[in-house]
Amino acid sequence: MTSLHQKDTKVFHALLYLGGFLLFMEWLRPLAIISDTGNVEIFILFAGFCFLLSLIRLTRWIAIPLKFAAVLIILDGLFLQGRIGSQGWLHSFSTQLDYNLGLIQNQVWTDFTPFFRTLLFLIILWLMSFLLHYWFVVARRVFLFVLFTFIYITVLDTFTTYQADSAIIRTVIISLFVFAIASFLNQMDRERLRPAFGKWFASSLIPIVILSSIFIAVGFTAPKFNPIWPDPVPYLTSTAENAGMIEGSDKTVQKVGYGIDDSKLGGSFIQDDTPVFMAESERRHYYRIESKNQYTGKGWERSTNLEFEEQSNGSIDLDLFSSEVKTERLEASITFTEQANFNKLVYPYGLDAITGQEQLELLLEKETGTIEIEGKQTASLLGEYQVAYRYPSFSLEQLSQDNFIDPMDIKAQYLQLPANLPDRVVALAEEITKDATNRYDRSKAIEDYFDNGNYTYQTTDVAIPEGDEDYVDQFLFDTQVGYCDNFSTSMVVMLRALDIPARWAKGFTGGQLTDQSQAFEKEKNTYEITNGNAHSWVEVYFPTVGWVPFEPTIGFTGGADVYQENEGEASETETDEEVDEEEQQQENQQQQEEEQEDTNADVGANNNSNFNVPWYVWLIIVSIIVVLGVMLYVYRYRWLNRLMLYRYPTFDNVQAFERAYHYLLRVLHHQGIKQHSGETLREYAVRVDQQFNLNKMSELTAMYEKILYRNELSLDQDKYAHQLWKDMLTLLL
């Protein structure tokens, strides 16, 4: 091996490694789209830098400081203030590091700062450059990485918004080259040859270039069929969601959505973006369904039987607040989807009348505010209906009045608390409201209390009270982690502990604005409300005003509009509809878990019906595949034999004979004639021949021995050897 040839090998390795880098780029490219990673080009640059250093095999003592410096420069440019290396810089660097290392210690992986995530990501890129160098240049095992790249790209293309059309083409081209170079190098190693680069270029590269360009050109221009099957994603997601719906067990993960039974609250739920109804309205606001008044310590129930009253001509006699409250007349139309599996209507605050396409026979339960339709099993059958409502804005002055007495019936129903409510809940409620002077301030104090940073909104890993644990007590003092039910129930219970009548209201949040309506700029917007928008909040009773909604759940803005009279409407202290863009974004981010991009949900809804393959068909398909797989495995030597006989029709070269002989050993092994440890081939062959009373294996082995132990490069009796080999295989199977 001359130095010239060694140089050529280096060129091959460089090409191979470049291919590896290009493939790795395909992993980085989608990051900007599928995650919130910014500045992908910097990461690509850094990866390229690491790859380059690995390729030129720089001494470790130079390469490591160089890479480390690159990491520092990137972190400095992206996050850190001040001149690099200055005291302030060092301080912020160490603070960041310190803080995140603390998080590691506490296993709060999700709270890492972007600085630390970037640091970790850069380290991963660094490691990947090492790994790929090993796979591609040292071990020359290219296939696995190429395969994973393809899987990665196709999965992203299928399940995310990333369009991998050109990525696939690029990957195919790169992998063809990488395979070609790797197999060429392996071949050369096996034959112990070292051809010059120029020779290789002419004999191998040009054909590869021509062939792959033909493939790609044909693939690109040839007509392509549309997919025969509809997009499986919506089907898969809906199946996955249904998988979570195991009823009856306390520990199960529930599916988010409106449910009737609230007697046992708690537990995690999985997301469901199935639309429940579409609302066309001018404002985005909550939709109420009902309220509950009896807290059991585990959940909510109704204390009284429901008394439905028939409503005439669609006008609804439901007064949640007094007529003194300032209102705005609005109309909205609501259309239930097929997914709405409850028979109650949703309505905005201040409901006056409901009109449907057909004459509706509506039943109203006044205490809870439940409206049902007579003769309809589920709301989905109702189709579209219009609601006329007077949307309320409450006066702060009015709410702040404190000289009233609650009516007896309100006191009787809405101050109930379980007898075994822990005292510390009451104590906490008193502590929170110690500075408040009136009912509104107290309510606000409790509503705002959850924002103190100790409470976390999340839908997974939410505890269920066990034994004599109290649901509210558990949330307030032990877990401090939960979703709307935890927050709203806690607020109601604390208010009641302060003798303020309050109740627990259920319904849906305002949903997502759909793209469609934005495009047309209509006066009314269309909102899509999904199962994920199911929500619960608090209503507090003010004798002079009525029931006023409050929103204790952190990250949600759905409380009442409250204005100060002397400053006029312009200075509303809290609005949920007119939140500015920034707030809306914030809210969206926080509600991300409950509300997903509506486009995705749309696709899901539309395609779901097309993909109606019954489950038993799937079962049959899967079982056929399993049975086929098992049969293929059990009878593998039957078809492998044919394959081998086809693959080695002659032993015209030694390699073929060696492989064929080892295949025969494998078959013998499979047939139970195993080679003992320390047994030579000759001894083994004799044993095999004794079994069959023949001499074929020994003869074949003698030939193989010459190749193996004498390094013979040709087989003198290749036809005879092939015959012997074939005979042995036929004998065995």
Partner: protein
């Protein structure tokens, strides 16, 4: 053992010649030839009268070589082995008289009955290929092949060879008694005239030397060399062995394997050759632990165990 390969034609004539004198015992004859062809020496351990001397004589007669016999006794002196300078009054000078070691094939009988001083004179000659007498170094002629015997039943008045000297012998063999059939055949063949008188040389010294060169040219693949090393290494870490086989042992095993392959008319070494020879080459080169002796485990059994544990190379490195 291998039915596939026949003997090398020249070797076969020698073996047939010996067979006429020594009935049975083909294995010992073959192994003696292994030692002879790879320029090593043999230690035969067996009771008297089983034909050790007859084997050596038959061998030397078949090869047309000088045969000397040294009977070791406690009062034998080194000069009795190497030769001595004697004053010649007529010429008025010292004249060197060759000792019995100045032969081609030497039978050193009952080597463990002589004093260590005399033993080491012989062993030095075996190792160095020359003897030093009165400050004069005399090279021994080739071929030089020593077959030493040692009697395992007499312990009184014996000087057992130390381990360090034992590994001067390439092989350590046991002759063993003949089977009934073989013994009957033997009686019939010696009843009139001893067959040793009738056999004639089938090969001369020159031919023997060229065969020795051919043996050293036998090909041994690196895989098989590694197999040998693996076996030797295994003896060094075996729990029942206190002192494993030295690198001299690996060289001996490889040389013997080459000769054995050659005898079987092959120009390349098989792992089978190594495996077959392992117990003859390695048995006397290691020190078993007290535990092994206490349990009655012999070196042969330990070597068998190692052979079963060490993997035989069955495929080229690139296919592994």
């Amino acid at each position: 053992m291998s039915k596939l390969s026949n003997y090398h034609p020249t070797i076969e004539t020698v073996l047939n010649n010996i067979k006429r004198v020594i009935i049975g015992k083909e294995e010992v004859s073959v192994l003696s030839l292994v030692a002879l062809l790879s320029e090593g020496h043999v230690l035969l351990e067996d009771v008297p009268g089983v034909g050790k001397t007859m084997l050596v004589r038959a061998l030397s007669k078949s090869l047309d070589c000088d045969f000397n016999r040294i009977q070791f006794t406690p009062d034998l002196l080194p000069s009795d082995v190497t030769g001595v300078s004697i004053y010649n009054p007529k010429e008025m000078n010292f004249e060197f008289r060759n000792g019995p070691i100045m032969g081609d094939i030497i039978l050193a009988d009952e080597i463990n009955r002589t004093s260590p001083k005399t033993q080491s004179a012989l062993l030095e000659a075996m190792e160095e290929g020359n003897v030093t007498v009165d400050g004069q170094t005399i090279d021994l002629k080739k071929p030089f092949f020593v077959m030493a015997t040692q009697n395992p039943i007499e312990y009184e008045g014996t000087y057992p060879l130390p381990e360090a000297q034992l590994d001067r012998f390439l092989l350590k063999l046991n002759m063993g008694y003949p089977t009934e059939e073989e013994e009957l055949q033997m009686l019939q063949s010696v009843s009139q005239k001893h067959p040793i008188e009738t056999i004639e040389a089938v090969m001369d010294k020159k031919e023997l030397l060229s065969l020795q060169i051919e043996v050293s040219d036998v090909f041994i693949d690196e895989m098989v060399q590694k197999y040998i090393i693996n076996l030797i290494t295994a003896t060094r870490s075996h729990p029942l062995i206190d002192l494993g086989v030295s690198p001299r042992g690996s060289i001996a095993l490889m040389k013997a394997a080459k000769a054995y392959a050659f005898i079987h008319n092959r120009d390349y070494v098989l792992p089978d050759d190594v495996k077959y020879l392992a117990s003859y080459v390695l048995g006397h080169r290691m020190l078993l632990s007290q535990g092994a002796k206490f349990e009655g485990v012999g070196s042969n059994r330990v070597i068998q165990e190692i052979l079963e544990q060490v993997d035989v190379p069955i495929r080229k490195a690139q296919y592994q």
